[in-house]
Amino acid sequence: MSSADGPFLVELDGVVRDYRLPRRWLFSPPPVLRALDGVSLAIRPGESVGIVGESGSGKSTLARIVAGLDRPEAGRVRRGGCVQMVFQDPYGSLDPRMRVERIVGEALFGDPDGRARKRERCIDALEAVGLSADDMRKYPHAFSGGQRQRIAIARALVARPDLVIADEPVSALDVSVQAQVLNLMVDLRGRFGMAYMLISHDLAVIAHLCERVAVIHGGRIVEEGATAAVLASPRHQHTRALLDAVLPPDPQAAREKLDRARRS
């Protein structure tokens, strides 16, 4: 399950994805919403790339295309390795009718390993995210939001992925639990060496985990580069707007930001 030929794990070239909306007149062509408009992006093995954008920017569509859950209208997608996902909502992403063992084991569907071996791998994955073998028999409702997100990460981990796509993995969690999950993600990368594609609206979260960031706006990548550089000297107007919108927990600085925004 190592990365395939070429230096890139995933390579997107000029990817376009349209969604057809209901037509407004009987014979008029249906209006088209262009979710992705010529996106090119490449992720190397072991690299962490952040995708930042607001709702409707196309970031979730991008995630699905990279994961192979959706096909582009135009452009090329090359994938060389196992891709797994972690989702935003720790309640909707785990089937409430399944025990943890089946939930985590689902990612091994189609894997040639035997039953006992699969079970061992599930336990390993659960232990890697800080849960225990005892939790295998429980249902999701027995866990808190943060623990559920750990289960979701274990599910992604068990298939030994080369790339984990995390779509807003902490935005539904309590502030005090967010840091636990972010730390876990950093820790797992150190131990298993997989690449991350982290999707978020929160630049601070991305800055914490990713060395490279792409800013997506209106279906296009408007700025891309090393995270530190982009944060320090944003070039695109939208990146600046995103940075300006972050309010620091410091009354003086936060008020000045708000005042500036009111005047402009």
């Binding site: 037509r23 407004r24 007149w25 009987l26």
Partner: protein, 316 residues
């Protein structure tokens, strides 16, 4: 918005076309030769053949179907075997019974069901609510024909206030005619009113959980006013859907109820057409009923537009 209309009209046509096709094919499958039914078992072979030719039964199936649909579209209905009169006349004769019956039943169901359901929702958990819910639970469970029998036992047999059956006609005034439809309409309306009451109650309770009701209350509306002005208009959307479906149940119910009360209506006509294998009549009636249901559902769609601005697309 216009698109919405056109689409609905299109599906409406398609449904009617499919309905006519199904009715035609199904009745084609019916064992027995209509000509033989008319002439009886002892008919000579050549008279049979002559009648078959006259009725067009010797033509290929698709030709007969097209001829029938063509006639229907021009408003020409067939001729009843058993009564030997045009089906149109039969219907015209019976409509003054069935139409007021259906309208009265639907009206009664609506006038009772919706206000009672909203009332119960407003008083959720009180004795009144529990009583309404228990009564409606019973109302849903009572077969309308049995309820009709009970009504006859009470009001005709015991009290002698209303006729036990039959239709007096409108010769002695509109009221006298409607009086003989009163019990049948009640019997038809009971289960529908019960269903509407339950549905309205749960739809209102559901709407009460919505954020906008809390917004309204935050503005200073009391519980009851928020219920009437904000929850109810939204709750009516699912209620209207069900009313459209109920109309079709109501039509079916008239077949039974008109039989219980010996009312000379469309429902009884259908029943007799089946019993007497009167194909032309049956075929035309079923398509007409299907058309009525489809048109009522179209009206329901129009009501949607009125109730739910989200369907009126576009700004302004």
């Amino acid at each position: 918005m216009i698109l919405f209309f056109v689409r609905r009209l299109f599906t409406l046509m398609l449904t009617l076309l499919a309905a006519s096709l199904v009715v035609f094919i199904v009745l084609e499958l019916l064992p027995g030769d209509p000509a033989a039914v008319i002439l009886g078992i002892n008919a000579e072979d050549d008279t049979l053949a002559a009648l078959r030719a006259e009725m067009g039964l010797d033509r290929p199936v698709h030709e007969r179907y097209l001829a029938w649909v063509g006639d229907l579209l021009r408003g020409r209905l067939g001729r009843s075997y058993t009564y030997d009169v045009p089906v149109g006349e039969l219907i015209a004769e019976r409509l003054p019974v069935s139409l007021p019956l259906a309208v009265m039943a639907m009206g009664l169901a609506t006038l009772f069901g919706i206000p009672v359901g909203a009332w119960a929702a407003a008083r959720r958990g009180t004795v009144g609510d529990t009583l309404v819910m228990a009564t409606s639970q019973l109302g849903v469970a009572v077969p309308n024909f049995w309820f009709a029998i009970l009504l006859i036992l009470l009001f005709s047999v015991r009290l002698g206030w209303l006729p036990a059956g039959g239709f007096a006609g409108y010769d002695e005034g509109l009221l006298a005619g409607l009086a003989s439809l009163l019990m049948p309409a009640f019997a038809l309306a009971l289960p529908q009113a019960a269903i509407l009451a339950r549905l309205t109650r749960s739809a209102v309770l559901e709407a009460l959980r919505e954020d906008y009701v809390r917004t309204a209350r935050a503005k200073g509306l009391e519980r009851r006013r928020a219920l009437i002005r904000h929850a109810l208009p939204n709750a009516l959307i699912p209620v209207v859907t069900v009313m459209g479906l109920q109309f079709s149940f109501l039509l079916a119910g008239t077949i039974i109820i008109e039989n219980v009360f010996y009312l000379p209506g469309i429902g009884r006509l259908i029943f007799q057409a089946i019993a007497q294998r009167d194909l032309t009549t049956l075929r035309d009636l079923v398509v007409l009923l299907a058309a009525t249901v489809v048109i009522v559902n179209f009206i329901v769609d129009l009501l949607y537009l009125w109730l739910d601005p989200r369907l009126r697309r576009g700004r302004g």
